[in-house]
Structures are given as structure tokens and as C-alpha cells.
């Protein structure tokens, strides 16, 4: 809005509209100042911008591969974001992803039915999350160091149990489901998985009792306790969900890459935090939305596809990642300031 369109008084200074008056442009402004909206807008803008790096972009194939590759980050980032919402961190993501992938592959190869193996692996990862939750909620240890320690223990147990066996091959059914070669109603199956997971995760975080309680605990543990929110059990459930989502990501990665070694999760820890931060969540907890996290995850994925297409080196990619996090942080900060000025 330029200055001359605003009414001025005799002294020439602008008469500002009453802030209590909710005008339409004001509301639109507030809508676009939300980090979630900004992330999704940048994500959508990335597609026409992709033309810069390759004349074959934008294409339907690019969108498809973004969604297929983005699936894993969307899944991991749900658990990470849920934990960050409580003011914590989950550093055991890499090992839990590896547990999910290893257990599924191992059990399926010893003759378990695929669904049984998946269920057992998911339960195994849920137990891992549960242990984290118990240590954080009852022993009151800082989540950062608890998950660091449990992750270190799990990683070493996996190494010990597997005795350095070569990578576990993926069961055929799982591979065909997540490799992106099969389609259902013309849409590749991993994209269906993405939609279904995102929907369930959205309902859990944004629409369920446990989701509400998580926001409360993240904002103020003491206030929540006073208000009668069962803080400990909320924390335990949140960490269990985080374990499950890491495990599911591991199972999906096993299918996608048709095999898994124990390092399969190593490259997902920092991106999971990055996606949550870029998606506009407060890293100290209490604020954020899963819709933003999905936007952040998909934005990072399309960015990395574009950078690879442009032939950018790993170093340039990393610098851009870092810069994007900083821009997201500053944008969120400015959005909050204007939001505060508005109300």
C-alpha cells in the first residue's frame, strides 16, 4: 500500500485506520504473513522458477518425483515436529529409521509375512519412542541429551545384533509399493501413501485431543499442569508417535531403495529439523503447524531436485540449505512482529 492512497490530516501525517477494524486487505495481509502460507507460496513458485536450471522443468514428472522423494521427509518430519512442539528434540531419528528398516527386512527374510514384519518393526520403533518419552517425562532429563544417548545405544545394539551383515533386501511387495513404479488410479503409490500419512498426521496433530495437549505442554508445562493436562502421558505419547513415524519412514525407505543398511537413517536427522523450522514452527515449542512442516519438507525436496538438475555441487547445496533456514527464521520473526503490531 503506497502512502498517497491513505487519507491525511491537516498536518499532512497519515491517518491510520483503526486497528480494531478488520478490513479485507488487512485480513489478506495477515493471511500472507503466516509462515505456513509463505512456505507453500515459495514451494509453488519453485516450479516455474525451475525453468532456470533445466528447460525440461516445470513438468508433471518433476512434481511427481518431488512428491515421491518428499514422502520420507514428510513422514520423519512429523515425528520430529511433534516432539519440537513440546519443546524437545528427537536426535534418535537416524537409529530409529534404521531399526524400522532393518527389522522389517530381517523378519521378512526369515519368513515372516510382510505385513507382520512391518507391524513388528513399527511396534519396535514405538517402544524406542516410548523409552525416550519415559526418560523425558519421568526422569526429567533434557530431551536433547536423552535422545542422543538412546540413539547411541540403539545404533550400537543394531550394529552388535546384525554383526555387520550386508544390507537387508526389501520384501518384493514393499519394493513395488514404494519404488514409485506402480500406480493406482494413475497416481504413483508413494503419493497415495504421502496423502494418507499426511491426512492422518494432520488429524493427530491439529484436530485430536493429544494434539491440543501437545500445544499446551509446549507453551507452558506448568500452566498445562495447573489446567489439568496430563503432562507426563502427553509427552510419552508424543515421543511414541515420533518413534512410530521414524520407523514408518525406515520401512518406506527400505521399500524405495529395495534394501537397507544401518546407515539408512543417517541423512535424515538434520533435514527433519530443517523441514520443521522452515515450515514455521517455533523451535522452542508451542507453535507451528503440520501443514507448514509438509510445505517445508516438500520445498526442501524440490530444491534439492532442482539443484541436482543444475549440477550444483554438494557444497553449494549445503550453503543454500543453510541460507534458506536463516531466511525462514528471519521471515517468521518479521511475520511475528507485524502480527504483534497488528493486534
Amino acid at each position: 500500500m503506497s502512502n498517497n492512497t491513505l487519507p491525511t490530516d491537516q498536518t499532512g501525517s497519515t491517518i491510520l485506520p483503526d486497528p480494531r477494524q478488520e478490513t479485507v486487505p488487512r485480513r489478506i495481509g495477515a493471511f500472507f504473513a503466516q509462515p505456513v502460507v509463505i512456505v507453500w507460496m515459495i514451494f509453488v513458485l519453485m516450479f516455474p522458477l525451475s525453468r532456470i536450471v533445466s528447460p525440461n522443468f516445470p513438468s508433471l514428472g518433476q512434481l511427481e518425483s518431488t512428491l515421491i522423494l518428499g514422502l520420507f521427509l514428510v513422514v520423519v518430519a512429523f515425528g520430529q515436529g511433534f516432539v519440537i512442539l513440546t519443546g524437545g528434540f528427537d536426535l534418535s531419528v537416524p537409529q530409529t529409521v534404521a531399526l524400522g528398516a532393518f527389522l522389517t527386512g530381517y523378519l521378512a527374510n526369515t519368513g515372516w509375512p510382510v505385513l507382520g514384519a512391518i507391524a513388528a518393526a513399527t511396534i519396535g520403533c514405538a517402544v524406542m519412542g516410548l523409552i525416550n518419552g519415559l526418560l523425558v517425562a519421568h526422569a526429567k532429563f533434557p530431551p536433547f541429551i536423552v535422545t542422543l544417548a538412546t540413539g547411541s545405544i540403539l545404533g550400537s545394539v543394531l550394529l552388535g545384533v546384525s554383526r555387520g551383515t550386508p544390507a537387508q533386501p526389501s520384501p518384493a511387495a514393499l519394493s513395488s509399493l514404494f519404488s514409485g513404479k506402480e500406480s493406482f488410479l494413475g497416481v504413483p503409490t508413494p503419493i497415495w501413501a504421502l496423502v494418507i500419512f499426511a491426512l492422518i498426521a494432520y488429524l493427530i496433530q491439529m484436530r485430536s485431543t493429544i494434539g491440543r495437549r501437545t500445544y499446551a505442554v509446549g507453551n507452558s508445562e506448568i500452566a498445562s499442569r495447573v489446567a489439568g493436562v496430563p503432562v507426563s502421558s502427553t509427552l510419552i505419547i508424543v515421543y511414541t508417535f515420533a518413534g512410530i513415524s521414524s520407523g514408518l519412514a525406515g520401512i518406506m525407505l527400505l521399500g524405495y531403495s529395495s534394501g537397507a543398511d544401518l546407515n539408512i537413517g543417517a541423512s535424515w536427522l538434520l533435514p527433519s529439523i530443517t523441514a520443521v523450522v522452515v515450515g514455521g514452527s517455533a523451535i522452542r515449542g508451542g507453535a507451528g503447524s503440520y501443514v507448514g512442516t509438509i510445505g517445508g519438507a516438500l520445498l526442501l525436496t524440490v530444491l534439492s531436485i532442482d539443484l541436482s538438475a543444475a549440477g550444483a555441487s554438494e557444497g553449494v547445496k549445503q550453503i543454500l540449505y543453510g541460507v534458506i533456514i536463516l531466511i525462514a527464521l528471519i521471515a517468521a520473526r518479521l511475520g511475528k512482529d507485524t502480527g504483534a503490531a497488528r493486534t
Binding site: 526422569a139 544417548a149 550453503i319 536463516l326 528471519i330
Partner: protein, 340 residues
């Protein structure tokens, strides 16, 4: 107010320090007890050199933690320092000292940038330092795309100097610890602890909160750069991802050093002993002939045990003398009133 904070802190620190030292002494004496080949100056000297990168890094990490902040850039600065040292010294073998100074400057600048972004723009520490870690890994990857390179012996020997069998590095570490102990008693140090325990109160009592916070990140940046130089001396090569292991081990070492993750409590000297325990642990397992891959599990369990130590002692204290605690509480409140 300030005076009571200092006296309260003086009373608290020794406990943490003693615990950290005891953990280290127990682990190291067990090593000496079961492994005869460790009982000589040469092995000890090697241990010190191996310890240096982590020990120096945790001085920085714990200083930031004490302010209630969080610094993940340790991995980035350390890795970049390692890569810069490798690339520059192989290109200009005679410029060891200027290169060293330049790298320290790099650490300072990165730390200052972190501090300014966090304190002046009010951004979240963990996210800012994550971003700067990722950026610096990128720069390191551009300078050196794969692990390798060779560092001239003149440069590595500068850091591996030994005087009568004793590593000069140990002297450097002791000097750094003394420097930190001195700093923690200056106005800067007192402000550090006050920010960590109650930022609002520190602001109200007119302490230079912002400058001190930026200073903490800058100090930490220099420490990470020094740590990277010592790492270069040990490995004699560069690795753009050299910093990554330190992301986790530095926080593990700080936990073993009983530094609080909530700010306001702890000692960098104790964290150095925590780093010592962390480096000694695999040696102990090797001595016990426990397979290598279990070291992660033992490390995790040790961290959890170290975390539960204050918890246990608090429970024990509460059971033994609930009345005494109440008395000291009122006394300290009276102290406070007197000063005001």
C-alpha cells in the same frame, strides 16, 4: 544480588567439578589397571593429543550452554577449520603461524555472526547455529570435496610439540582451563551465569546481557577453531565432514561434565574432564576386550547414568535433611535482602 549469585555459584561449582573429575579418574585408573601398555608417558601423551579437539571444543559448547543458549555450529566451525588448515598449509607450507591466526579469526567471525543473529535479531539459537553449521559444511565441501589432502609436518608438529615427553598440548589445555576459570570470576563470567539462570533479572540489574551473550558465541567460535587445528594436527589431513561427530560427542561430553542443559549452572573445566571420560571410554572397552561396536551403547548408558547422578543426590539429600534445606533457603533470601 550479584554478590549472592557469585557466592551461590562458588558453592555449587565444586560439586559438579568433583563429580566430573571422579568419573574421569575412575575410568582412567581402570584403564591403567587392566592395560599395562597404557602405563607410560608415551600412551598418556597420545591420549592427550586425541583428547585435545574435543576438550577444547567443549569449553566453547559449555560456555554457550551456561548462558542458556545452544550452539550446534561446533561441527561446522571445527570442520571448516580443519579443511582450511589442510588446504592452506599444503598451498603455503611456510605460513603456519599466519594461517593459524587467520583460522582463529574465522572462528571469531562465525561466532560473532551467530551471536549477532541470535541476540540482536532475537532468532532461536539452535536454529541459527544449525543453519551456520550447514553453511560452513557447504564452504568446507567447496574447498575440499572429499577427505584427503596432506598437511606439512612442520604444521602438525607445531601442535604436537612435546617437552621432556610431556605434550605441550596439555599445557595449552591447562592454560585454557585457567583462562576460563579466571573469566568465570570476572564481570563477563558473572553475567554469563546470570543470563542462564534468570535473563530478566540480569537485564533488570543492568548487566551487559546482549554484549555478553554475543561474547559467549564469539568465544565459543574461537574455541571450535582451535579444536579444528588440533584435529588437523592429529589426523594430518582434511575432511569436510570432520566436524559431524563432534556435534554429538561435544554434547555428550558436556553431559558427562555435569553442565546443565537449562543454563545458569556448570563449569567448562568439568566439561573438559567429561571429554576426557568420553575419549577414555573406548580405550577401557578395548582393554576389557569388549567388541568395538558396543562402545556406543556403553557411551549412551554412561550419559544416562551421569544425568541421573544429580537426581539421585537430590533424592538422597531430601530424604536425609529436609529441614536444613529450608533453613539455607531462608538464609540466602536474607542475604539477598541485605545486599539490596
Amino acid at each position: 544480588m550479584t554478590i549472592s549469585t557469585i557466592s551461590a555459584r562458588r558453592r555449587r561449582i565444586p560439586g559438579d567439578l568433583v563429580t566430573a573429575v571422579v568419573i574421569f579418574v575412575v575410568i582412567y585408573s581402570l584403564i591403567l589397571a587392566i592395560a599395562p601398555f597404557e602405563r607410560n608417558l608415551y600412551s598418556f601423551s597420545n591420549f592427550v593429543l586425541l583428547l585435545m579437539p574435543l576438550a577444547v571444543a567443549v569449553i566453547g559448547t559449555s560456555t554457550v550452554l551456561i548462558t542458556g543458549g545452544f550452539d550446534l555450529s561446533v561441527a561446522g566451525t571445527l570442520g571448516l577449520s580443519n579443511v582450511l588448515a589442510t588446504v592452506l598449509t599444503s598451498a603455503y607450507p611456510d605460513m603456519g603461524v599466519p594461517i593459524t591466526i587467520g583460522i582463529l579469526g574465522m572462528g571469531l567471525v562465525v561466532g560473532l555472526l551467530n551471536g549477532v543473529l541470535i541476540v540482536l535479531l532475537g532468532l532461536q539459537a539452535i536454529a541459527v547455529t544449525l543453519a551456520s553449521y550447514i553453511c560452513m559444511t557447504g564452504v568446507a565441501l567447496i574447498l575440499l570435496s572429499a577427505p584427503g589432502g596432506s598437511v606439512p609436518i612442520e604444521f602438525t608438529s607445531m601442535f604436537k610439540l612435546s617437552i621432556g615427553g610431556f605434550p605441550a598440548a596439555l599445557g595449552a589445555l591447562i592454560v585454557l582451563c585457567l583462562l576460563w576459570a579466571y573469566l568465570s570470576r570476572t564481570r563477563f563470567g558473572v553475567t554469563l551465569f546470570s543470563i542462564g539462570s534468570d535473563r530478566q533479572a540480569a537485564v533488570i540489574s543492568g548487566m551487559p546481557v546482549r554484549a555478553t551473550e554475543v561474547g559467549a558465541y564469539a568465544f565459543a567460535g574461537v574455541m571450535y577453531a582451535i579444536a579444528g587445528l588440533f584435529l588437523t594436527a592429529v589426523t594430518a589431513s582434511g575432511d569436510p565432514n570432520a566436524g559431524f561427530p563432534f556435534l554429538l560427542t561435544s554434547f555428550a561430553a558436556v553431559a558427562l561434565g555435569m553442565v546443565s542443559f537449562r543454563g545458569g549452572k556448570g563449569s567448562a573445566v568439568a566439561a573438559v574432564f567429561g571429554a576426557g571420560s568420553l575419549i577414555a571410554l573406548p580405550k577401557l572397552l578395548f582393554g576389557l576386550q569388549i567388541q568395538d561396536f558396543w562402545s556406543g551403547a556403553i557411551l549412551g548408558i554412561t550419559i544416562l547414568l551421569a544425568l541421573s547422578l544429580p537426581l539421585l543426590s537430590r533424592v538422597a539429600k531430601r530424604r536425609r535433611r529436609p529441614a536444613v534445606a529450608a533453613v539455607t533457603d531462608t538464609r540466602s533470601r536474607k542475604d539477598l535482602a541485605d545486599v539490596e
